[in-house]
């Protein structure tokens, strides 16, 4: 990258919370926009080079090429799939922001159960809107190569700033591999599992500074699976605390969606 890198910010299916988290870095927002040449950020800017679903303005040519694309949200329509592939083609790096783009998000919690068509009809009736062709929520890497993943629902502002500063300099982000428990211990919280509360801290990626346990409530798993997790041990532990498998799987699926359900199936086969 020579000079300021060219960056685009996009949102697909989600709550826009990860892009909002960037706008919520009030003390650093001028630096964020100053560190890169931001060519697209529809939520904050008018007159973007690629305001359209169906890709960059052809006339824009090289202008539309990006060093890095930051993407919030999952893919739930054919139109988004085409736009994502088009962004990938003209971007040096693709960074997934938040669990929707990393893992499919809460809207993917039913993945693998074959219920999408029935649920879609339940919401929109027999004649759904013709404007989109919809399908079960999928993460970005179901369609394109993703270079970096920043998890969270939403992402953590401090973690984003740290990662952003590295990415715009062409360096990979440094993200914790450990689970929430590490941060929870640093905050000297009393372990909620000892109080028989269902906490997903042991299997969930760190990065939030153990917010939920620090507020006397179990981790809901909103950063998705930690690299260094031991799901088998967590499940055995929760079973000794009188939680049944159905409850444990339901909790894991809410934010971990397909990721956790696959590990869970393997675990049950063992």
């Amino acid at each position: 990258m020579s000079g300021k890198p060219r960056a685009g910010f996009y949102n697909f299916s989600g709550c826009s919370g990860c892009l909002l988290t960037i706008l919520n870095c009030e003390d650093n927002i001028l630096d964020i926009f100053g560190a890169a040449q931001v060519t697209s950020f529809l939520m904050a800017n008018r007159g973007n080079i690629d305001d359209r679903w169906h890709g960059a303005d052809r006339k824009a040519g090289k202008e539309a090429n990006l060093d890095v694309a930051f993407i919030d949200g999952s893919v739930t329509t054919r139109e988004q799939e085409a736009f994502l592939k088009e962004i990938r083609e003209r971007s040096g790096l693709v960074v997934a922001l938040g669990i929707c783009s990393c893992y499919g998000g809460v809207q993917a919690m039913e993945t693998g159960r074959g219920s999408f068509a029935r649920r879609y009809q339940k919401v929109y009736g027999a004649t759904p809107p013709a404007i989109v062709e919809a399908f079960e929520s999928k993460p970005l890497d179901a369609f394109v190569k993703v270079d970096h993943y920043l998890p969270g629902c939403p992402i953590d502002g401090k973690q984003f700033l740290h990662a952003y500063a590295r990415i715009v300099r062409g360096l990979p982000p440094e993200l914790p591999k450990t689970p929430v428990c590490t941060e929870c211990k640093w905050r000297e919280n009393e372990c909620l599992l000892l109080k028989n509360e269902l906490c997903l801290g042991p299997v969930t990626a760190a990065g939030c500074n153990a917010r939920c346990p620090s507020n006397n409530t179990g981790c809901v798993g909103c950063f998705g699976p930690a690299d260094e997790r031991n799901l088998g041990s967590e499940v055995s532990l929760l079973k000794t605390r009188k939680f049944n498998l159905e409850t444990i799987e339901r909790k894991l699926r809410i934010f971990g969606g397909a990721r956790f359900s696959e590990s869970f199936k393997k675990l049950l086969r063992k």
């Binding site: 826009s16 009030e26 950020f41 904050a44 305001d51 339940k122 919401v123 917010r211 909103c222 809410i254």
Partner: protein, 425 residues
């Protein structure tokens, strides 16, 4: 047939286009198109515990996540007959004020103001208007800080729950909120004066029907169990279906709403028109200085209404904190029953938000969520039509697409919110 099209409206949450079909210089057809991917939230909460449902639904929308949490809690508590003490209600109100300050200042300074000052975004305005931008960011940060203290995070905090809060903020945190509200009061006044000083286009003006929740006491506010309608009616929130009348349309994954066959408006302009007389102090003075009958015809004045609401919250927070400091932390209340059904409602920054839940033996068995932006779409289409007719007739050199976009932005739409609603039998 010629078409005037805005492919993607900028500086709003989510994706919405504007499509105006013109025949012989007359508007034939207007569509606000929504190609958002569906997420089917009403189906995701089925078979979840009430607490889990209240964790899931704020993910409908980050910008009003606290309002979604509060509407869910309100509906679920009514369904399960949970009566929370005044201290819990006061802490919820403080959290809600945090969201109002954050969302309204985000809109006023970062989303709306660039149009009036002729910029593509707020960061670019720092060349000439750094004071405005920094003031907006200060206010926004304060709103976020209130939510962080009360809800555990800026967005999607899990501290508030059905029955109360997992953690009560300590004295130091509450005093920090009070001191900051007092310190920022002049910024709130400046916000109102800035919005009052701007020039507002008039081409879209047309009479509006307004709705908002009626606060139980004679004050301004964002909660209530009945709805005031500018036609002179007052209806309980339990009649939410008759007040919204959702239907599916082909050009949008968000539905459309009408009241008595007519578009209606929810949000800050509705609240100011229906409740503005209830304001006190500086907010009341600001309201009297700003308000005119144009406010019943011109949706762009919503930006002034938002600024007055920021001032209202900054003024109300110190007394609310004092009240919280004078009462002990409230314990979380358990449900009185395992099954039930009810609707809950709050005023989200962008208007009345309804959450209906059915709970059967401790699990959610049905849900219907009706979002303010969905209620406002018909009015947006109506105002775009009027503006297009006026501007085409006048053969104006005005940037017609910019006017269309300003109309949509005035409603501060949360499009991802709006695309996910339904009845489940």
């Amino acid at each position: 047939m010629p078409v005037i099209e805005v492919k993607h409206t900028a500086r709003i949450e989510g994706h919405a286009g504007i499509w105006v079909e013109v025949e012989r210089n007359r508007v034939k057809n207007v569509k606000v198109t929504v190609p958002e991917g569906p997420r089917l939230f009403e189906t995701l909460v089925i078979d979840k515990t009430p607490e889990e449902a209240a964790n899931i639904v704020p993910r409908i929308c980050a910008i009003c996540s606290v309002s979604h949490k509060l509407a869910a809690i309100h509906g679920l508590e009514r369904a399960l007959d949970i009566q929370v003490p005044p201290a819990t209600r006061a802490l919820r109100t403080l959290m809600h004020y945090g969201e109002m300050v954050e969302s309204n200042s985000l809109h006023v300074y970062l989303l709306a103001l660039p149009d009036f000052l002729g910029y593509p975004n707020a960061v670019a305005m720092t060349d000439k208007y750094a004071d405005h931008v920094l003031r907006g960011l200060r206010l926004k940060k304060f709103g976020n800080r209130i939510m962080e203290i009360t809800s555990a995070r800026y967005t999607h905090g899990e501290n508030p729950t059905v029955g109360g809060f997992h953690r009560w903020p300590d004295r130091k945190e509450l005093l920090e909120i009070k001191a900051e509200a007092q310190r920022l009061l002049p910024d709130g006044e400046e916000a109102v004066e800035l919005m009052r000083s701007l020039h507002y286009p008039t081409s879209m003006e047309d009479g509006m029907v307004f709705m908002c929740l009626k606060p139980p006491t004679e004050t301004y506010g964002f909660m209530g169990e009945s709805v005031l309608i500018s036609t002179g009616e007052e209806r309980p929130i339990d009649e939410y279906l008759e007040m919204t009348n959702e239907k599916v349309v082909d050009h949008s994954t968000a539905k459309r709403c009408l009241y008595n066959g007519r578009p209606f408006v929810v949000g800050p302009l509705a609240r100011m028109n229906l409740l503005g007389e209830r304001l006190h102090g500086k907010a009341s003075e600001a309201f009297k200085r700003c308000y005119s009958l144009t406010w019943v015809r011109n949706p762009l004045y919503a930006s002034q209404a938002r600024a007055i609401e920021i001032l209202f919250c900054l003024e109300a927070i110190p007394a609310l904190v004092d009240k919280l400091l004078a009462t002990p932390a409230a314990k979380t209340k358990e449900p009185a029953r395992k099954s039930g059904a009810a609707v809950g409602a709050v005023e989200a920054p962008r208007g009345t938000l309804y959450h209906y839940y059915e709970v059967t033996r401790g699990k959610v068995s049905g849900a219907n969520l009706i979002i303010p932006t969905t209620q406002n779409f018909s009015a947006m289409e109506r105002h775009v039509r009027v503006a297009a007719d006026t501007l085409l007739k006048a053969d104006t050199k005005d940037d017609i697409k910019l006017v269309f976009e300003m109309i949509l932005r005035a409603y501060d739409p949360c499009v991802s919110c709006s695309a996910h609603l339904v009845e489940i039998g």
